[in-house]
């Protein structure tokens, strides 16, 4: 009975998807009908299917058969889905005409199907990005409902999921579109308040800054809010709650990873070697985006001295001072909390950065850091913005797990992680000696943290990469893990806690 229900759910959902895909080959007259029909079918089919599996009255974590399912264990379905998603991302980023997008004239096909919704929300014809945004939001909402069902009984998961669903629907999708409709004459700038620099890597690019500054009160508000979040809002929130306030409560990438990506969270690698690679990779991206941004600001100031509050010299001086103070504080005040290689990275990259800035900045050239800022921006946009966050980040869900982008590539996660590691009240507490080393926590950590390695030693988990999704705590069969915000003292190593011994053994 349950099987029939499940299969009919899948069937109805796929019918909707197929309906949507047929538009790739033909154009429908009544777009509203076909658009609503396909979304309705996908919603109904999905809800029906999820209800059958997860909608039981008994709470409890339902990971039965995760490693038997071909979808969630890199089997055939996983491969098909992964390749399909990857193809879709490649089309969106580089070949939108396949989807019917026409930059010169009226779009057709899939993109055009979304015209009615696009006109309704923002008053313009749909672009491939509108199509993408709609599908993205739809996926978060539909799979969000599934996630809530699956983790029913765990309120942390409930509130967190409602939060990402809300932020995606309102902040990422509806508000920007409506604002665009209300301000048709202002030049384009990103209107997703939660999409902060450096996740939004072009926030401080010349064209974007110019558009915000010339974008009236609204543009100015977004500029000030954005800067306020970077320098004040985010550090304060991260201090009190860890980076989870963003990564698993607000962020759109996190939202998709946590909802649609949930079936793949166990595919992240927990190997030590991968952790080492991760630490290098994510900081390289961070340095890359910082350099790009400084270069962008430099060229903005150079070319728009009338719009700038700072002169070139003041700007370079300020950047050097800021980086210098930051590095000094980190190095001397927190040196015991840093791993050796992290220290080397920090110092060497910091010096290179400061040195190059000095040489280039005061020599009066238009290029900074020996590089042309436009080509830098372009390459960042291609390499990190599209290939990494899109194709690898989502397309590879079924191969590498749901948080590849967040783990290896997101510069925002790197900054928040650095602060989380060094200056935050957040930690995952381990419950004394109750760990049985079963490995569920590590297996289901989407960030590839070997949670068990800490838990079995009775040690708290304070890792820069932890996004605070809380699944380790949810799947622990012995109540060993708890995400919490508490005093800074003894955050990383609680007083050597005996694992049930009456004697003191340093484990």
């Amino acid at each position: 009975m349950a099987t029939i229900k499940k299969q009919s759910g899948i069937g109805i959902g796929f019918l909707g998807l197929i309906l949507l895909s047929t538009v790739l080959f033909t154009t429908y007259e009544n777009k509203i009908l076909w658009l609503s029909l396909s979304f309705l079918l996908m919603t109904l089919g999905g809800l029906f299917y999820f209800q059958t599996i997860y909608g039981k009255p008994l709470p409890g974590i339902k990971n039965d058969g995760v490693w038997f399912s071909s979808l969630s264990s890199r089997g055939l379905s996983g491969w098909i889905l992964g390749m399909g998603l990857t193809a879709f991302y490649i089309a969106i980023y580089w070949f939108p005409e396949i989807l019917g997008f026409n930059s010169e004239d009226k779009s057709s096909g899939l993109v055009a199907l979304f015209d009615p919704l696009s006109y309704f929300l923002n008053g313009q014809a749909a672009s491939q990005w509108f199509l993408y945004g709609t599908l993205y939001t739809f996926a978060i909402l539909l799979f969000g409902v599934k996630f809530i069902w699956k983790y029913w009984g765990n309120r942390y998961q409930l509130f967190r999921t409602l939060s990402v669903m809300f932020f995606q629907l309102c902040f990422a999708f509806l508000i920007p579109e409506i604002l665009a409709k209300l301000n048709p004459s202002t030049p384009y700038f990103a209107k997703d308040l939660k999409n902060m620099w450096p996740l939004n890597y072009y926030f401080l690019d010349e064209w974007h800054l110019t558009n915000m500054i010339t974008g009236g009160n609204l543009g100015l508000f977004f500029l000030l809010f954005g800067l306020g979040m970077i320098f004040i809002g985010s550090p304060i929130l991260t201090y009190f709650f860890g980076k989870r306030w963003y990564c698993s409560w607000v962020c759109g990438c996190g939202a998709l990873a946590e909802t649609a990506g949930d079936p793949f969270r166990q595919l992240s690698s927990k190997k030590l070697s991968v952790w080492k690679f991760e630490r290098w990779m994510i900081h390289v991206v961070l340095v890359f985006v910082t350099v790009t941004t400084i270069a962008a600001l430099w060229s903005f100031i150079t070319q728009n001295p009338e719009m700038s509050l700072l002169t070139r010299e003041q700007f370079i001086g300020g950047v050097v001072l800021f980086l210098f103070v930051l590095m000094t504080i980190l190095f001397f005040w927190k040196k015991n909390g840093l791993e050796k290689d992290a220290k080397y990275t920090l110092v060497s990259l910091g010096s290179i950065l400061i040195l190059s800035l000095c040489i280039q900045g005061f020599s009066g050239q238009n290029n900074i850091l020996f590089l042309n800022s436009y080509s830098f921006q372009k390459w960042y946009g291609f390499g990190v913005g599209a290939a990494f966050s899109g194709v690898l980040g989502v397309g590879f869900y079924p191969f590498l797990g749901s948080r590849v982008w967040c783990r290896f590539g997101c510069p925002m996660a790197a900054i928040l992680g650095l602060q989380q590691r060094l200056f935050s009240k957040f930690r995952i507490s381990t419950n004394g000696g109750q760990c049985i080393s079963c490995g569920n926590c590590s297996a289901y950590c989407e960030m590839g943290i070997d949670v068990r390695a800490y838990a079995q030693r009775g040690e708290n988990i304070v890792r820069s990469s932890c996004v605070g999704c809380g699944i380790c705590s949810a799947v622990c069969p012995r109540g060993v893990l708890k995400l919490e915000n508490d005093r800074l003292k003894n955050r990383i190593n609680p007083t050597i806690y005996p694992l049930g011994n009456a004697m003191e053994v340093n484990s």
Partner: protein, 439 residues
């Protein structure tokens, strides 16, 4: 590093939690040569996690807490061979291929074997326990041919087996000797909650039912079991989960003093020099007050390993487990306990306060001394508690009033979990008002 003497050759028999903990702590504190022998598996894995492999939550690799090159990096030699016997005169272990390995010190951490009480048919195909890695593999091989399973024994492994088989869509008969689930450990309310939970999950629960005979077909595959209560259960598989016993048969002629297990003193030393025993297979000659001589529990195995490693690296240390603690999960209900809470308390020696949620599967029970009001222990279902709080309360003499006062702080459930403290206090109020102030 141990500077106190020349390096010794230490051989550890068994790569479970006890043996591996010993090895790790030996390495941490010394440069002795360390060899760990196990026939069962090349690498250490978490035995308690075998069930999750069958249920598809984990792959077998996930149950291995250390990466495979960890052992070589830490110079811990692993040998996958079967040990036939010990030659205690010459201080060697003898493998079944006739080879020998000499030791300066030998640590026996050879674990347990599932009990079988001589039931007719207990050797049939499809009748097994769940302890060994091989047991998991057997079950996996047979799994597709099982529609109905019978699990015998209402303890922790029994309920795990029931959950495992149930998760793969098998009908499960759960035969329990007692009149209520695990009621030698769980007080009546808690035990009843688990009974209801098992039924709600769809388990065919048969209380006060004992196994009589197991019947096979012409191919020696089990087809049904008969209970002593004259009931018959058709099934293709039988899980025996009626406890475990120390795995000591191969030591019979070794000269080691054996009781139910390998007898050891407080320093985990056997009667023979340079031979020690830890974990499930060790039988304490002088167990601590209120503790059993053999405790086949993950945690005690780990504590013994830590302790013995101290002794072997020059810091002679007696086995001193702190206050008792344990945990388990019965399908979706988590269980934790610290200290002592009797299933049926003697009112002269132990008073109890109980609170249970009217709808949800949550309860908490505190025990204390009726006269001194000293806090003695806690059992919780569906509520996570902090080990360090209870450990501290139990190690120092703490009054029940103080524990109740700080109880909220000891809750360890995820953020936003409803806190039932008001409810709990209301429930306990009447009993609390009769308590004398803290002496």
């Amino acid at each position: 590093m141990d500077e106190k003497g020349p390096n010794k050759s230490i051989v550890i028999l068994g790569n479970g939690i006890s043996g591996i903990t010993t090895a790790r702590h030996l390495r941490k504190n010394s440069s002795h040569s360390i060899t760990v022998i196990s026939e069962e598996s090349p690498y250490f894995f978490s035995r308690t996690a075998l069930m999750y492999v069958y249920m598809g939550h984990l792959q077998f690799d996930h149950t291995q807490p250390y990466e495979n090159d960890f052992w070589e990096q830490n110079k811990i030699d692993l040998v996958q061979k079967r040990v036939q016997r010990l030659n205690t005169q010459e201080q060697t272990v003898v493998f079944d291929d006739g080879n020998t390995l000499a030791f300066d010190a030998l640590v026996l951490a050879c674990g347990s074997l599932p009990n079988k009480f001589g039931w007719p048919g207990q050797e049939l195909k499809g009748v097994q326990g769940l302890y060994h890695k091989k047991d998991l593999e057997n079950l996996e091989t047979l799994s597709d041919s099982i529609a109905t399973a019978t699990v015998v024994g209402g303890g922790l492994i029994g309920v795990e087996l029931a959950e495992m088989l149930h998760s793969r869509g098998k009908k499960v008969h759960f035969l329990i000797r007692e009149s209520s689930f695990w009621n030698k450990v769980l007080p009546p309310e808690e035990s009843a909650m688990i009974n209801l939970h098992l039924l709600a999950q769809g388990i065919d629960l048969h209380l006060s039912t004992t196994l009589d005979t197991i019947e096979g077909d012409a191919t020696d595959r089990v087809v049904r079991v008969h209970s002593t209560q004259k009931e018959t259960f058709d099934c293709e598989w039988v899980g025996l989960a009626v406890g475990v016993s120390p795995n000591i048969d191969f030591l019979k002629d070794s000269g080691l003093a054996l009781g139910k297990g390998i007898q050891v003193n407080r320093y985990l030393e056997t009667n023979l020099p340079n031979i020690y025993a830890v974990g499930d297979c060790a039988e304490q000659l002088e167990p601590q007050a209120g503790r059993k001589a053999i405790e086949a529990v993950w945690y005690t195995g780990r504590i013994m390993g830590e302790t013995l490693a101290q002794t072997l690296t020059g810091n002679k240390t007696a086995y001193q487990p702190g206050p008792w603690f344990n945990s388990a999960k019965f399908f979706d209900i988590e269980y934790q306990t610290y200290g002592k809470v009797s299933a049926l308390a003697n009112p002269e020696k132990e008073s109890q306060l109980y609170w249970g949620h009217s709808k949800k599967n949550c309860s908490i029970r505190l025990s204390y001394h009726p006269y001194t009001l000293t806090f003695m222990g806690v059992i919780s279902l569906g509520i996570r508690l902090r080990h360090d709080y209870f450990d501290r309360w139990l190690q120092t003499t703490t009054s029940i009033n103080e524990v109740i006062q700080d109880l909220t702080q000891s809750f360890f459930d995820p953020e936003f979990t409803p806190n039932y403290m008001t409810d709990i206090l209301n429930e306990w109020e009447t009993q609390l008002s009769t308590l004398a102030p803290n002496p």
